[in-house]
């Protein structure tokens, strides 16, 4: 088998898998089920091998057993303490035993403690700059123009800098909307105390509406993403496989 024939065979297998999986659009069938299970099996098997070769072999096994001296390379001592990780990890499987599942909690407790500690630092790094950024000016510094004047065609840096140094009413309005959204959505999540103020109740209702607008935008973006996946699969079947693979091979 030549290299071109092998590539075409690979492309054909993938195209058949794609068509097999899409066949569920017509109705539930055995071809779909076959490819679904074949995919799960392949991914699971590959993952096990990959975790060993890409990670465990170098980062755990080789550190534990060390290496013998080779031409020009010194021996590396093994650290047998790494072997303790095996029984520790296996404790996790005691979750299936009614009598001994307390042992699995040792491991879970360790992981929870580790995760929670790391989260302290992560929380501030992730949200600190966002909190700082949410403090925005809401009062315009100029009313010469409602929107930011265009700088296209300007060559004088001082002139461009002067335009950009102001806060225009349109920008201030955007900041006001951002601030109202932020505060109203935050007020929606006040569950600890009973809110009796009519104003606050209406304000948190506004937060709920704005949240729904946000979810709608995310949903629209999600639909766009799903369509892109379909387009890519169609590109694969019709162009990469059929036109550039099969037809090209047939035409020699």
């Amino acid at each position: 088998m030549t290299n071109e024939q092998f590539i075409l065979l690979k492309l054909t297998c993938a195209a058949l898998a794609t068509l097999g999986l899409y066949s569920v659009l017509y109705k539930e069938n055995k071809v779909f089920r076959f490819f679904e299970h074949a995919f799960l099996g392949l991914a699971g098997g590959y993952m096990i091998v990959s975790i060993w070769t890409d990670f465990l072999y170098d980062s755990w096994w080789m550190k534990m057993v060390g290496t013998a001296p080779e031409a020009g390379v010194d021996a590396i001592n093994g650290y047998w303490l790494y072997a303790i990780l095996v029984p520790l990890s296996l404790l996790g499987y005691f979750v299936f035993s009614r009598r001994h599942n307390w042992m699995s909690r040792i491991l879970i407790g360790f992981l929870l403690g580790y995760g929670a500690t790391q989260e302290f630092q992560a929380f501030w790094v992730r949200y600190g700059p966002q909190i700082a950024r949410s403090m925005r000016p809401v009062w315009p510094t100029t009313t010469e123009s409602f929107t930011v004047p265009s700088t296209v065609g300007l060559t004088d840096p001082a002139q461009i800098a002067a335009i950009n140094s102001h806060l225009y009413p349109s920008q201030a309005l955007t900041n006001v909307i951002t601030l109202i959204t932020l505060l109203s959505v935050l007020s929606y999540f006040i569950f600890s105390v009973e809110v009796k103020s009519r104003f606050l109740n209406n304000f948190s209702k506004l937060g709920r509406w704005l949240l729904m607008v946000g979810f709608g935008a995310i949903f629209g973006s999600t639909v766009m993403m799903r369509f892109t996946l379909l387009i890519d699969r169609m590109n694969y079947v019709w162009i990469e496989w059929l036109r550039d693979g099969v037809f090209r091979a047939l035409s020699g």
Partner: protein
């Protein structure tokens, strides 16, 4: 049965067929649509355009063929840009063990194109290395921040003499002493793995994102707060980048400082350009069918009862 009743009873398989045709036929016409790049895409492009020959970039490639339509196009545009600018890069994966192989396939295909154009292929070890899969990226990122070299020293690559050596000895990491020497940390992801990178590496290295349309809206806050230097969001992000890469680009800062960039890949037209017209038409179809479906609901004789 009137017209609207008949519309209401159209078999869903007919709709699937129309959708498949709409998602297929425009692919054969490689037509670019008019476009204004998003701010976040422009910022990302600026970070790429400012890279110099010999700089090193880390690319966290957290996608597989499941999101190839968007992330595959992101990754391909990114790799082509880095190769054109002779920037060295290291791949790292955290989401799926399948991801490194998928990324290597794309680089292999791009190298095939370079050879076909009588150009030098981008060589593994000399120009790029694969650091492989890190099952716990949180821990790996914390380690990278404190001592990058220690975290990756055990990762091995085959040198041109066929010897397995530590990636630290490759030309890619020749001038890299710490994470701060990395010019850009790009995350190409179909998941939320970029969250942990922002949480662990923000401030230590410039981070850029190339994400799917699902993740994009959620991540714009990171861009807005300056935690990401740029963000290519979904297929629109790919299209923006491809367009900017193929044409001369001028950036004028708020202080009025002007930077001129030559096109990274003159006349380049990739998957983003090819898919964008098709995506636009499928979205028009979606909006059209939603409108027609609702009209049919109103005008047909069928009454629907609202759930109480």
């Amino acid at each position: 049965m009137n017209f609207w009743d008949r519309i209401q009873k159209v078999d869903r398989r007919v709709l699937y067929l129309i959708l498949i045709l709409t998602a297929t036929v425009p692919l054969f016409f490689n037509k670019a649509l008019p476009n204004v790049p998003d701010d976040s895409s422009e910022s990302l492009y600026l970070s790429l355009a400012r890279l110099q020959e010999g700089d090193t970039v880390i690319i966290q490639t957290d996608w597989t063929n499941a999101t190839r339509g968007e992330n595959g196009s992101h990754f391909e545009a990114l790799i082509r840009a880095l190769i054109a600018k002779k920037v060295k890069f290291a791949l790292v994966s955290a989401y799926s063990p399948l991801a490194p192989a998928v990324a290597r396939d794309v680089i292999g295909r791009i190298n095939g194109d370079l050879v076909a154009e009588d150009k030098q292929p981008y060589r593994q070890w000399d120009d790029w290395v694969d650091l492989g899969f890190f099952p716990n990226m949180d821990a790996a990122a914390i380690g990278m921040r404190s001592d990058l070299r220690q975290i990756i020293q055990e990762r091995k690559e085959t040198d041109p003499q066929g010897q397995q050596r530590s990636v630290l000895q490759s030309p890619v990491f020749q001038n890299i002493k710490a994470l701060g020497d990395i010019k850009l940390y790009m995350v190409v992801t179909g998941t939320n793995s970029i969250n942990s990178i922002v949480a662990r590496l923000s401030g230590a290295v410039p981070i850029g994102g190339m994400v799917t349309g699902v993740m994009g809206p959620e991540l714009l806050v990171y861009y807005d707060a300056g935690q990401l230097v740029g963000l290519a969001n979904g297929l629109k992000g790919v299209y923006d980048l491809e367009q900017m890469m193929s044409e001369p680009y001028t950036y004028v800062s708020k202080a009025g400082v002007r930077e001129e960039f030559e096109p990274i890949l003159p006349g380049f037209s990739g998957r983003g350009t090819r898919y964008y017209l098709t995506l636009t038409l499928t979205l028009i179809l979606l909006v059209g069918t939603v409108v027609i479906g609702n009209l049919a609901m109103v005008f047909s004789g069928r009454k629907t009862r609202r759930p109480r």
